[in-house]
Amino acid sequence: MQRRSKLTTTLLYVFGIIYGLAILGPIAWILLLALKNALDAFAYPPLFIFEPTLEHFIAIFEDPEFRLAFSNSVIIATGSVALAMLFAIPATFAITIMRGRARRNSLLTILLIRMVPGMIYLLPYFVFYSRIDLLDTHIGLIVIYLIFCLPLIIWTLVPVWGAVPLELRESGMIDGASLWQILFLIELPLVRIGIIASGIVAFIFAWNEFLFALVITRKKVVTLPVVITRYMGYEGYEWGKISAAAVVIMLPVVVFGFLIQRYMITGLTAGAVKG
């Protein structure tokens, strides 16, 4: 690397620190707000030192609707990952041996499907589900999430699985194993880190999803992102509850994100773009 001038180095530090603070600031703000009582929340100028309170966290966990939403979110996100895995594992197993045009076209088709905005599918699913009574059901939402979770898992999994030598398959065949046996008994244990990482990526998607959850759920299966908007009710916004709920919703995904940050972008860097 070239030697930087002192000035350049200083500028890089200054810019980097300012940018980092600009990212952290809003998150810190919502955290503080969640810990302030109603009076402190509206103090001007804003308080940075105050007596923290857990009243809002207690309030949301005493709210049966929030508790229901929490379990719904867990069920739907887990269910979406499980269903998508059923399809994604064999698909990735196949893609890793494909070469040339077949491999490229399958991967690009899958990528493209994931990139299409959900709005395109929202109305038809709503009308269709209302006719076959799938509105406000877990499975209804899980099936729709398959459209997004399946490509996410495949794209995250392909680079991990691609590192498994193909000779393993050949020697497995020589030993008389079937392809299914090779898949489940030999290769799956080798790529378990990739399975976990891609599962988490898909989990984060389903946990965060708002548009379909808002329209497809009513009462029984409302998820966390939907329930939080109900605190922006007619009697005014309950900012304490809103910020506490925001903290609760983002906590698990931020922890997951740190754990698998290495894998989160490999999915898209897997296909190198030629210069």
Partner: protein, 295 residues
């Protein structure tokens, strides 16, 4: 030695085809259903049974000022955030690629906006822009600026949405650029150094040209996702004030789910779909030419 036959690629088809079939069923059928709905009078607000009305929904779109207004808003929410994300993301990636001592934390910080639910991002900024609760105007006042009324002024509301989109998506762009930069061969930088180039010159004449295809690829990805912007608008401005921040997909949502005019909303979605195709066409051409998926 037992005689050994390599596994034909065709044997793998039954492993891949369920995924492809399911994905196509789940996506193509809804699009066809939307086309059908867009020619119907279906409305949950009206007691009359649905009937075929041809292209009348589309005809009505042409006179709908609110719809016509939503197209430039959609374009603005693509061009402005994506351009800013690419520029800012480039600088952030350059900083991280320098591996400055004591700056490793930035990598972890960048993960947060990528995984935080968009609805929470929206709520957080909604708080920050709200005059009494929020801090944006407070911090502006510290440096002697009089902050605008972000969410009630049409122009500032547009700016507000752009700020949130840049906050939320620049980290992804930066990390993708960083991953690409780390794969650039050292020899090129070495050669630039021997030729007496400065650091800034090496960034301009080595890093930037090598990064160009990645910039295009990420720019395309971000453009498609920017076209789908929804939760942020829903929470931060709710499309207001007076529909000033309403994109095409947001207006389709309002027509379908607030006014319950399903047929009409479907016609909007069909137009929206064609906007998407305008992006997908060149995208596919670029990807087919430049994308190397063999490891």
């Amino acid at each position: 030695m037992a005689s050994y036959q390599p596994i034909p690629q065709r044997a793998y088809l039954r492993y891949l085809s369920p995924s492809i079939v399911v994905l196509l069923l789940l996506t193509v059928l809804p699009v066809l259903f939307t086309l059908y709905l867009s020619t119907s009078s279906l409305s949950y607000a009206s007691p009359r049974p649905e009937r075929f009305i041809g292209l009348r929904n589309y005809d009505r779109l042409l006179d709908d000022i609110r719809f016509l207004q939503s197209i430039p808003v959609s374009l603005l929410f693509i061009v402005a955030p994506v351009a800013l994300q690419l520029i800012l993301g480039f600088f952030v990636a350059v900083i991280m690629n320098e591996r400055l001592p004591g700056m490793r934390w930035l990598r972890y910080v960048l993960v947060a906006p990528m995984v935080i639910p968009p609805i929470v991002t929206g709520l957080t900024w909604r708080v920050l822009f709200t005059p009494k609760l929020g801090s944006v105007n407070y911090f502006l006042s510290l440096i002697g600026l009089d902050g605008p009324s972000w969410l009630t002024d049409a122009n500032w509301a547009l700016v507000a949405i752009v700020i949130v989109a840049v906050w939320g998506w620049t980290p992804f762009v930066a990390l993708m650029f960083l991953a690409a930069m780390q794969s650039f061969p050292d020899e090129l930088y070495e050669a630039a150094r021997i030729d007496g180039g400065t650091w800034v010159q090496s960034i301009r004449h080595v890093t930037l040209p090598l990064l160009k295809p990645t910039v295009t690829f990420i720019g395309i990805l971000r453009t498609m996702e920017a076209l789908g912007i929804f939760p942020i608008i829903y929470i931060v401005t709710a499309g207001g004030p007076a529909a000033a921040t309403e994109t095409v997909n947001f207006y389709a949502f309002v027509s379908g789910f607030s006014y319950l005019k399903v047929g009409y909303a479907s016609a909007i979605i069909v137009v929206y779909f064609f906007m998407l195709l305008l992006i997908i066409g060149p995208t596919m051409r670029f990807l087919l030419r430049n994308f190397q998926v063999d490891s």
